[in-house]
Symmetry: C2
Subunit: 181 residues, 2 copies
DNA sequence: GTCTATACGCTGATAGAC
DNA sequence: GTCTATCAGCGTATAGAC
């Protein structure tokens, strides 16, 4: 309950602009009472962000370990982001800007997980190109463009809940893979 | 000097986590001295974000008023974002998350400019589809995907300055319009 | 577990001397 | 214009009664 409340507030107002009082009001207790359940406000952010980072990392591990084709792996990653967005919309939304407020050593651990994730994603993208499934695009820009869409998905999805996961996947795949033309 | 320093700090640490002392140190004066040049910290954020919003709006006005084809208009908007990113990298980076810290009435004005911009962008996208330049994608998702890439560009560009604007435009256009396949 | 009371550093901002 | 001094309020977090 505390974590969920904090996630929603961090998403709306940002970590720094959210006070323990804000969270307490959301939960329905006094601010001091929160400290019977958590160690600090910082701990809340670490919980939220690192759990998400670990899940994305686990998802990536599954995909890379699989015997799927590069293009199927790419599709699996799309599904991973869509699933994560649906299941944890608030905490996934935090990955775009709130990680800067992580204190060390959590911040380094988080950035290291993120780097590894992007490196693996890039490897799969390059394999798609080599296999001839994707055309000869600049893989770094393809990764940037793809990840931009996937990372901002929770923000967009909030205002567009009237779409099914299947349609969402189909349309995003179409935009990213087939392009607009 | 104050505005530039503030923009860089807001980008790195966020508006709330940046103190007037931080800005003063960056400028090289005492915090109190800043108030001889600005009214408040809030005013700094409003200056930065609304100037950017106004420029995007002006760019959109030029594009819509032009006699270009829908697809050429789309390309012009891509160039607008790339140019803005190159010319004002720090303040353009703020549009992703820092607008939440705008106080009223600036916040409403900002959101209203943003809405109008997205509406006009969507209109152009739909015209591209109707003209047969783009395939039958879901225009809302195409807009979301395109704008995601363009909005996160300043963040990506910071770590990838070794690319020319021309190449950047070519590659982004290729990813977005032609897709990966 | 909950609460009230409190510590105390930092914040944005002002006053006033130079 | 700059500075030093200062204020009032809010922030996180703790102590201790119940």
């Amino acid at each position: 309950m505390i974590l969920e409340t904090a996630a929603a507030l961090f998403r709306d107002k940002g970590f720094q602009a959210t006070s323990m009082k804000d969270i307490a009001v959301g939960v329905g207790v006094e601010a001091a009472s929160l400290y019977n359940h958590i160690k600090s406000k910082q701990e809340l952010l670490e919980q939220l962000l690192l759990v998400i980072a670990d899940r994305f990392t686990a998802g990536m591990t599954d995909v890379t370990a699989s015997s799927l084709s590069p293009k199927e792996k790419f599709e699996q990653l799309l599904r991973l982001h869509i699933r994560m967005t649906m299941e944890h919309p608030d905490s996934v939304a935090l990955i775009n800007s709130e990680w800067v407020h992580l204190a060390e050593p959590a911040r380094s651990r988080y950035k290291s997980l993120e780097s590894a994730y992007e490196r693996d994603f890039l490897t799969i993208l390059k394999a798609c190109i080599e296999a001839g499934d994707f055309q000869q695009v600049d893989p770094r820009i393809a990764l940037f463009s793809t990840l931009s869409t996937l990372r901002l998905l929770p923000i967009w999805y909030r205002k567009n809940k009237d779409i099914s996961p299947i349609d969402l996947e189909k349309h995003i795949m179409q935009c990213l893979v087939d392009g607009l033309r």
